[in-house]
Structure formats: C-alpha cells, structure tokens
Symmetry: D2
Subunit: 297 residues, 4 copies
C-alpha cells in the first residue's frame, strides 16, 4: 500500500520504519531533513510538503507534537487536504485535544475523507520495538480497514468508539495515571518516614485496595522494582514534561466542557513545580522527590 507518513520525530521515525519493513511504499515528509534522510536511505520517497506526500497515497499517517502542527499539516497551505484523493483515510497518531480532532474530521468529511485519531502509549521504546498501544477513534468499518496497518507498529489496537474517542481514552487514562503516581509517592514517602519498610509497604498496598499500576508495576520508590526508572535514577521512561502535556490536555478538555477536575489540576501543578525545578526530563515517577526528605528516598 502507498502510505504517506508525515512527522518523523523520535516516535514517528521508528514507526515509519516498521511500515517500510512490512513492505509498504512510503512517501515521507518532515521539516527536519536529517530525519527524512534516514528513511530515504531505507527506501522511502522524500516529499517537499504534506500535499506532495498525500497526492497518490492510499493512506495518510501523521505523528506530530501538538494541535497546531496537526492543523497546519492537514488544513494549511500545501496541506494534506489540498491534495489527498477522495476516500483515502487519514490516521493521526498525535496526542492532541479531542475538540481539534473532531473539528478537523468535519473538515475532512466535507471533502470525502475520514479522519481517524489513534494516539499511542508505550513511548519511544515501544515505537522502536513495535509494541505500542493504539487507542483508535473510528467507525467500525474504518477500524477494520486500518487495524492491519497499525499492527505493524503496535501490539494492542484498541477501538474506543467514534472519532475523537482515541484522544479521550488516552487523556482519561493518563489523568488517572498522573494522579495515582503522586498518590503512591505520598504514601510511600509518608510510610517510610513513619517507620515502615518500603518493600513491606508496597507489598501491602499491592494486595489491598490501594493497588494500582503506579504501585505494583512502576513503583516510584527506589529499589522496589529493579527494572523501572525509580531504580535507575529516574532516567528514561515517561518524562515529567510529557505527563504535563497530557494533564494539560485533560485540563483544557475539562475547561471547555465546564467539568471539574480538582485532583487532575493539582497533579498538573505539582508536575509543573517539579519541571520548573529543572526535572522535566526525568521520569514522571521522580515526583516522589518533591514530596520526600532527602534522606528518605
């Protein structure tokens, strides 16, 4: 299949590579020439604009940093919508706000194209390994059509309902994640400070009603789980600034729909304080250090 792939950053480049390996013909575009060079060397075709990439594509994939980029790549001058053939689906894998997705989907629909949102989780590690989770907002028909393509890049392809719901699912999951990581951080730091052994405490929580992914799979206290960032100086993993972006999307969606999000808002502010202290690049579980005495963790 001829696939246009637009956006070859840390996530996009390895994703595109999986499609090439699977035998698809790739027309690629990115403002960063170096990123394009790599894929061209592996067989992709270089395109000077989103429009050029989309012209003869049978499927368009985009993977971009934020709403403004998606808006420009799809609806701007020399954008995808100015050149794409009717009936060709567009799959946006960026994490952006559901309202923008739905507005762009209407625009695309008006000229005969379907837009699908398919944000991912799994990070750059998952992108390289081809083990991403895709949360997909699409009609049943469309989901059936694009699922085989996404499976080259991911392990779980989850159908979340109609367009926009992929974003909603991702935002809501990460909202719970961002909050519960701080919850576990507060509990571990307080508990150790009050005299309980960290491993004993983690075991009790993991077998009780406080059990959660942030406790049993990604515990922020150093040494509880050997393989997670908490045990490796909070290097790697999912950065504080990425969590901040997702909590910001949740806050913005809540504001637009006049919905309270008190814990989400406070979590966002605490990660922002931590980022301000120069920790934005650390794994988000490092937030435990904002809440602990230096000698505790």
């Amino acid at each position: 299949m001829v696939i246009a792939f637009i956006g070859l950053g840390n996530m996009g480049a390895p994703m595109a590579r999986h499609l090439l390996k699977a035998g698809h013909a790739l027309a690629v575009h990115d403002l960063n020439m170096a990123a394009v060079d790599g894929l061209v060397a592996e067989g992709a075709r270089r395109c000077g604009s989103p429009a050029e990439a989309a012209t003869d594509a049978e499927l368009v994939l985009t993977m971009l940093p934020a709403s403004a980029h998606v808006e420009k790549v799809l609806a701007g001058d020399q954008g995808v919508l100015s050149a794409i053939q009717a009936g060709v689906p567009i799959v946006d894998c960026s994490t952006i706000d559901p309202a923008t997705v739905r507005r762009l989907a209407q625009l695309a629909r008006a000229q005969g194209n379907d837009l699908v949102d398919a944000p991912v989780s799994g990070g750059t590690g998952g992108a390289v390994a081809g083990t991403l989770t895709f949360m997909v907002g699409a009609s049943d028909n469309l989901f059936a059509k694009i699922q085989p393509v996404l499976q080259h890049m991911g392990r779980r392809i989850v159908h979340c309902g109609d367009v926009g719901n992929g974003q909603v699912a991702k935002i809501c999951n990460n909202l719970v994640l961002g909050i519960s990581m701080i919850a576990v951080s507060e509990a571990m730091a307080l508990g150790v400070n009050q005299g309980i052994d960290a491993k004993v405490l983690a075991d009790i929580i993991n077998a009780s009603s406080g059990r959660c992914w942030s406790s049993d799979t990604y515990n922020p206290y150093p040494g509880i789980i050997e393989t997670v960032p908490a045990s490796k100086g909070y290097q790697g993993g999912f950065g504080v600034d990425l969590m901040l972006k997702d909590l910001g999307l949740a806050a913005e969606a809540a504001r637009q729909s006049r919905h309270p999000l008190p814990m989400g808002a406070l979590a966002q502010q605490l990660y922002q304080v931590w980022s301000l202290q120069g920790k934005g690049h650390l794994d988000f579980s490092s937030i435990i250090q904002l809440l602990s005495r230096a000698d505790a963790t």
Copy 2:
C-alpha cells in the same frame, strides 16, 4: 484462652462473637449495655470496667472509635493497664494515629506488657463474615503468638513490622485509595462527558497504566460493576465519613512529621465538602457525583 474484649460496636461485636464460637472464654466490656447483653447471652462474661475485664485475661483485645477512647481504656482510671498481669499482650484493633499507639506501647512496656496494633480493613461485612484483613505491628515472636487468635476473625493477617506499623500500613493504603477513587471519578465523568462509552473507557483504563482497584474492582461509575455500591445507589460499602477519618489520620501524621501530602489533603477536603452536603453516610465512591453533571451518572 481467656480473652478480654473491650469495645463492642458494629465491628467489635461480630469480631468477639467469632472468638466465642472458636471456644475462647470472653470477658467483655462496653459502655453500651445493649451491645454487652447480646454477647453475654452467648456466653461471654460481663465486666464493669476495662480493669475488671483485664484482671485475669491471657490476652486483651480492644476495638474502639478513636485515639481518645483507646487512651482512656488502656491508661485511664479503671483502665486495662491498672489491672493486667505482666506478660499479657494487648492487641488494639482500632484505627488511630501511629504516634498514640507508640506512646501507649511505651507505657505498657514499662510495666511489662506488649502492645500490638492490628487495625483492620473489610468493614462490618468482613467482621460478620470473619474475613477481615489485619495489619499487624508487632515483634516476630508476638506476631506468631497472636496470629492464631486473629485468624478466627480474619482471612489475611499481615505482619507490617514493629508496633505502630499496622496503623502506618492502613493509613498509607487508604491514602492511595481515597485519592485514586477521585482520580477514577474525574476520568470516568470527563470521558463520558467527552463522548466515550463508560464501559469502553473502564476497560481501556483497566488494561492500561491507569489500572487500579478503584477502577477494576470498585468502579464509581454506575453500572460498570454490578455488585459494588456505585450500582446500588451508593448504599452500603465504606462510608465517606470513614474515609474522611482515615485521610484525617494521614494528614495528622504528615503534619507531625513535617511531610507534604498535597493530593491527600485535597482528597480529604473534597470528601469533607461532600460530607457537608449530607452525603457522609454514602459509600465513598459517591464522590463521583460531586464531579459530574446530574445527567452524566
């Protein structure tokens, strides 16, 4: 074994009953005569004071509402410590602050008695069914000695380390629980409002990094899990006011040890707002209603 049991409330009475059934001789005391009557009819011996109950006991068990009661029952006039024989252990099953436990343990130790804290989770249902979880703070020896007794009343007897650590474990677990219930409430309410189906969203979270007991076992959104309070008008379960008490203990412990607990403090305040609106008796998962449009849940 001759066991003194002091405090026969909604939790204490069924717990004492299990010990009677197991063949222990019970000397019981409570200010509420009606509660005592029931157990006396089943074979327990009525005592006019904690001291009287403790005089010839081989083990003393207490199950009381708050620190002040425990302090009075143990160290007050006609209290346990005024009559107990040296070497007899005292097991306090109340949920109170770790600092008070440790202070009373020192007092007891000074006259040759060990104090063990063994707060429970599982609610009145678990007390009646004998399926409570006990979180025990005691030396290894002492734990081995009292474990068989506790097993008449509970299913899981968890050793949390030395005296006080039972309270620490319970407080820390419920801190995570109280926060993550609000996290899931915010996510479910926002997601449904943004157009995703509640069951689809819960399934996605439960298979992702937002997974937690509050989502996969006790989801606050009505109809996701048929057996939980959320699907039965938030009746029964673990009351808002009980969650408030535990978060208050966490806040107080944190204040004393000069430890920040921002999410815990906010969770406490939100449950307090909800309680003020007359909802203190509802299951704590009803907090989702404070954060939802009336037509959403």
Copy 3:
C-alpha cells in the same frame, strides 16, 4: 470622530451609547439584530459586517465574548482587517488571552494598524454608569490618543505597558481576587463555626494582615456589609461563571508559559464544582456556601 463599534452585548451596548452621547459618529455591527436596533434608533449607523463598519472608521472598538469571536471579527472573512484604512487603531475591550491579542497585533501591524487591548472591570453596572476601569496595553503615543475616547465610558484608564499587558493585568488581578474570596470564605465560615461573632472576626481581619478587598469591601458572609451581594442572596454582582472564565484564562496562560499556579487552579476547580451545582449565575462570593454548614451562613 467616526468610530466603528462591534459587539453590542450587555457590556458593549451601554458602552457604545456613551460614545454616541459624547457626540461621536458610530458605525455598529452585531449578529444580534435587536441589539443593533436600539443603537440605530439613537443615531448609530447599521453595518452588515465588521468590514463595512471599519471601512471609513477613524477608530475601531470591539467588545466580544471570547478569543474565537475576536479572531473572526478581526481576521475572518469580511473582518475588520480586510477593510480598515492604514493607520487607524483597533481597540479590543474583550477579555481574552494575551497570546491571542499579541498574535492579532502582529497581523494588524503587518498591514499598518495598531491593536490595543483594553479589557474592563466594573461589570454591566459600570458599563451603564460609565464608570468602568480600562486596563490598557499600548505604546505611550497610542495610549495618549485613545485615552480621551475611553474616558467617555470609564472612570479609570490604566496604562499597563505594551499590547497584551492589559489582559495580563486583568487576569492577574482577578487571579488574586478569585483566590482571596475563597480564603475569606474559609476563614469566616470556620471562625463562626468555632464560636466567634462574624462582625468581630471581619473587623479583626480588616485591621490585620488578612485584610483584603474580599474581606473589607465585598465580604462573602451575609450581613457584614449591607450593600454587597452576600447581603442580598448573592444576586447581582460578578457571576461565578465570569470568575471561572477569568481563572480559565489565567490557567491557560500559565500552561502555555509553563508556570505553576496551584492555588489559582484549585480556585478554578472549586468555582467549577459550584457552577456544576447550578450556582454559576450567583455572585462569586456565594462560594462561601460550598464551604459552610447550612446553619452557619
């Protein structure tokens, strides 16, 4: 002077009326025909589009609900910028985010027009009475030029620095206001609950370091100050939903500039909870009722 006035809502209509009375020639536009009719009857000229109003104007004034409206009225099809003569200043009195103001100012500048932001405080009462406060972002020259026009509509015309700073000043002031109103509410409700007389407490705060406008001029406790909404069932005044809008702008500006705003974010969420309970139209000082026992206030 020939002035184009676009946006004739509850605020805009009385503002435009003051300019008419002062002898200016007004070209007015609004999508709401009824609002236009009133001013036409008093001598204004009806225009079918922002462009038509702007064509021969010597000054353009806009007063609109949100960023999207300002963007459309200035830069959209038939917008002001498509017809305005070079050198004519545009004064936007809407309350919107500083980033949008500055982006539109660049656009205007590129074709030879200056954009000034001049958001107001004082509400519909101030608009009708001509006693608004204008917070103006403009160069010194431009400020000198437009000040006399604004003085027909307001009492205080404050120069806040360059374009965008009018919005920044308004957002920052209302951020403090929205937080301190809740602070005073918490203190008054707690104090009365703890046994102190409300008037005595207010007097003490007003003479101490807790002194603030929310306490000494607009106290949320009923009966402290006879003339404020708190003493009139929280009718009139500055609505919860308007405060929510301004705190939302502060939150959004903070998010964009990666700045923590923990108290502002929590204040926003508390007003959002209150609005969700159907209180969005009440004066924002009614937030005290969310934090009080029914019998306390």
Copy 4:
C-alpha cells in the same frame, strides 16, 4: 502587681522585660536557665516550677511553644493550677488550638480561676518594641482587668469575645494571610513572566479588587517594597515554619469541626514542600520562589 511569667523564649523574655520596666514584681520560670538568668539580673524572682511562680501571684502569664507545653505548665505536676490562689486570672499568650484552650479553661474554672487566651501577632520585633497585637478571648469584666497589663507589651489589645476566641481570630486571620500571600505570588510571577512590569502590576492590583496586605504592604516580589523581607533576601520577618504551624492549627480545628478548608489545606502543603526544601527559616513570602522561574525574581 505580682505577676508570674512562665515561658521566656524569644517572645516571652522581651515581653516579661516590659512588665518589669513598668514596675510589676515578676516571678519567672523557664526550663532554659540562661533565659531566666537575664531576667533575674534585671530584678525578677527565679522560680523552680510553674507552681512556685504561681503561689502568690496576682496574675499568671504564660508564653509557650505548643498545646502540650501549655497543658503541662497549667495542669501537670507542679503546674500552675496546683498552687494558684482562687480568683487569680491566667492569661495564656501562646498560639495553640481553641479546643485545648477551652478544655483548660473548664479545668481552671472548676477550681475558681479564669483562663484567658491572648495570642499575639507582631513577631520578636514587636515583642522587643512592645508593639504586639493581642487577640483576647475573655469575658468583658476580665478583659477590662487585664487590658492595662497587656498594654505594657502591646499596642493593640483586641477583644474577640469569650475564651478561645483569641485563638480563633488569630488562626482565621493567618489562614487568609497564608493563602493570599501565595495568591499574590502566583499573580506577580505569572504577570512578570507574561511581560508586565512588576511595579506596574503591583500598582494595578493595589488599586483594584485584588488589593490585600500581601500585595500592598508585604509584596513578595523583590524590589516592590524596599523595607520588607522580599527586598532583603527573604531574611527576617515571619518564617515559613511559623506560618506552617498556624495553618496546621487551622487545619486541625477544621478537621475537628468537620469543616472543609481546601485552599487552606493546599497552602499548608505548599509551605510544607518549601520547608522540606530547606526554606523553613526564610520569611513566608519566599514561597514566590517555589512558583517562579529562577530568572523571574
């Protein structure tokens, strides 16, 4: 008049000195002998216990760090109540929780003594200068009787109602203060970051509805007001840890009376985070640094 003065710390010693200078006979007691030496050298009589100091006193004054100390000095072994003559009033100038004050007042009343709470504001500077503010909880008669004594040590002697209300007034005022200082910090930091001049912004807030003591008298942004700690590296003033103590008292009072205090609770947590970072000794207005980019302030 023969006055017993118990508690000669940084605040108590200079307060006692003012009474000596005014011609009163002082019987002093403190566990810190060095503190006692100083006053003895100036004419006070050294006493080995609170009881000894109280024996022939016509008035007892206490100035102690926390509830536990007051409890011990009044009601403990060799405490004031064991030796004081009937009818002699006790004035406690400590800042403690209202519930403890009222409980001790009942105890004193039972043996014929009145307890008055009279916490102060003004810091060690005010204690040395004799310009403290006293917030007094006492009957009208009693207030009239002790006012002349307090006037030797303070400038404003405020009658807040019956016993306990002095504490309530102080706690409530400092609750508003602690919150509004963070509100102003957020607004100043955000505003400067968004491009407005700090002095211009402060002037606008001070003339608008955001006006408060934290903005117009004690602005946390460096250089706005030359004489405050913010302009002197946050040295001196009212320490973060002292603010933490007062917010802790407010939180505890609110918890006991089942009253929500969301903004107060969050303020407490933010000061706690800041204290944890080693800033507990700085003036509380230094909290702005937790919320600012390093280059902003």
